[in-house]
């Protein structure tokens, strides 16, 4: 008996429609986040992440409506984020039906935002998202969708973020994201060793073997992926069976 490793499909949206990896099969409306959410809920996803990658202020009401529509389809936990800049943004996301929120750019600028969010909603609802890229012998945190370097060491930032109140780390490898060449196990393991909270690995998902690697070598507690699920390259059921057969504790669903 032990805590299961989680498999988490991620929906990258423009606030309203899924915008990355949209070659879905067997879906009448392929870009509709609620339709995909309904599918993953049945197929055995352990959690769902929905992100507003545009994160524009004007689109905020549209994204909140998207969260409501997605949450209505789910009997599993939902994490949502994109552009969370203050406690009110966080409250709006949780009120719309998310169980956890992610915060990224604003937290690097104002780490005390993590403390304020944790005080208001509890650490278990605050996920610190870090976009990291290898620079020389370490990894650096980037913000604004990975477009702006911060000069901050990603592992140090993870440690500090947890001290400030983050209850979970979502670590995305910018070197691996979109490559389908496997997760960044050294980065994930470095983060995982540095913090005491659960770590979600993101970027580079491909074959079932890549998930096995990130759980074993990368010491990840959860693994996130988008297109390989959207494109039905790997079914969630088959992936979990594979992991189970290779000694990873997962929640098997029929």
């Amino acid at each position: 008996m032990s805590l299961a490793h989680r498999i988490i499909p991620c929906l990258d949206t423009d606030g309203e429609r899924v915008v990355k990896g949209v070659n879905f099969v067997n879906l009448r409306d392929a870009g509709d986040p609620a339709a995909l959410a309904a599918r993953y809920n049945i197929e055995g996803a352990d959690e769902l992440v929905v992100l507003d990658i545009a994160a524009s202020r004007d689109h905020r009401p549209t994204f909140l409506e998207t969260i409501r529509r997605v949450a209505a389809e789910l009997a599993i936990p939902l994490t949502a984020g994109g552009g969370v800049a203050n406690v009110d943004d966080g409250r709006a996301i949780l009120r719309a039906g998310a169980d956890k929120l992610t915060v990224n750019t604003a937290a690097i600028r104002h780490p005390e935002l993590l403390t304020a969010l944790a005080a208001e909603f509890g650490s278990q609802a605050v996920v610190l998202a870090i976009d990291a890229k290898r620079v020389g012998d370490h990894w650096e945190a980037f913000v604004r969708g990975g477009s702006v370097a911060t000069g901050i060491d990603a592992v140090e930032w993870a440690r500090k973020g947890v001290a400030c109140g983050a209850g979970e780390i979502l670590i995305t490898s910018m070197d691996k994201d979109g490559t389908r060449s496997g997760f960044d196990c050294p980065l994930t393991a470095a983060i995982s060793r540095a913090v005491t909270v659960p770590v979600i690995a993101s970027g580079g998902a491909d074959t079932p073997e890549t998930f096995l690697e990130v759980f074993k070598e990368g010491r990840a507690d959860a693994a996130l992926a988008a297109s390989i699920f959207h494109d039905s390259i790997h079914g969630l059921g088959d992936l979990k069976r594979y992991l189970g057969e290779h000694g990873v504790s997962v929640r098997q669903t029929s």
Partner: protein, 208 residues
């Protein structure tokens, strides 16, 4: 039957509402002492902070009405922080008093494993359980918490092990609670909620 979700600002109230609706069970929200009095069964959802929850209940003057409903035999189900609120005290808010339906303390989980205890875990059943009737022994439930009741005497019917052995399902007479979130635990979570509704219906039939 009239099932009320106790409304005091908890974030997960709509998900519990939707989970009940999926079972074909209508519920209403109760946020006043009068609202609680007319109910056949109560659900106390909860996420967040023990002290904040107790203060919200106190501001709405709901503490005595909840305790009175339990004394009258009204079935009550607590979820996550709703379970913790049933205890006397919590490490999370020293000095604050809970609903005190159980005399024990809610403890901070020791940092042996990663905290928060976040994700899907299995249960260890230690006594017959009405909430878990028909639920497979190896079923996984969704947890998200850093505090837990380590002891609830005979009321503890199922435990979970993460950092410490703690109470995952609690049942005593008309009082039920889960540390996990049944509304977020897929089909097995729905079965737990359905079992609570069945218990509540039985208790109502008994009265008529």
């Amino acid at each position: 039957m009239n099932i009320a979700l106790i409304e005091y600002g908890a974030g997960n109230l709509p998900s519990v509402e939707r989970a009940l609706a999926r079972l074909g069970v209508a519920s209403q929200r109760a946020s006043t002492p009068e609202g609680l009095e007319s109910c056949d069964a109560l659900i106390l959802p909860g996420v967040g902070h023990f002290g904040a929850l107790m203060r919200s209940l106190a501001e709405r003057k709901l503490i005595d009405p909840i305790r009175n409903a339990v004394s009258r035999g009204v079935p009550l189900m607590g979820i996550c922080l709703g379970l913790q609120a049933m205890f006397a005290t919590s490490d999370e808010a020293p000095g604050d008093v809970g609903l005190n339906l159980f005399p024990q303390n809610v403890s901070a989980l020791p940092p042996t494993d990663r905290l928060p205890h976040m994700g899907w875990n299995q249960l260890r059943r230690v006594r017959p359980s009405r909430l878990l009737e028909g639920v497979p022994q190896d079923a996984y439930f969704y947890f998200a918490h850093s505090y837990a009741a380590l002891d609830a005497g005979e009321a503890a019917v199922a435990l979970c092990d993460h950092s410490a052995s703690f109470v995952a399902v609690l049942e005593k007479g008309n009082v039920f609670a889960t540390q996990f979130h049944p509304e977020k635990s897929g089909p097995v979570g729905a079965a737990v909620l359905s079992n609570f509704v069945k218990q509540a219906s039985k208790s109502q039939d008994g009265k008529q």
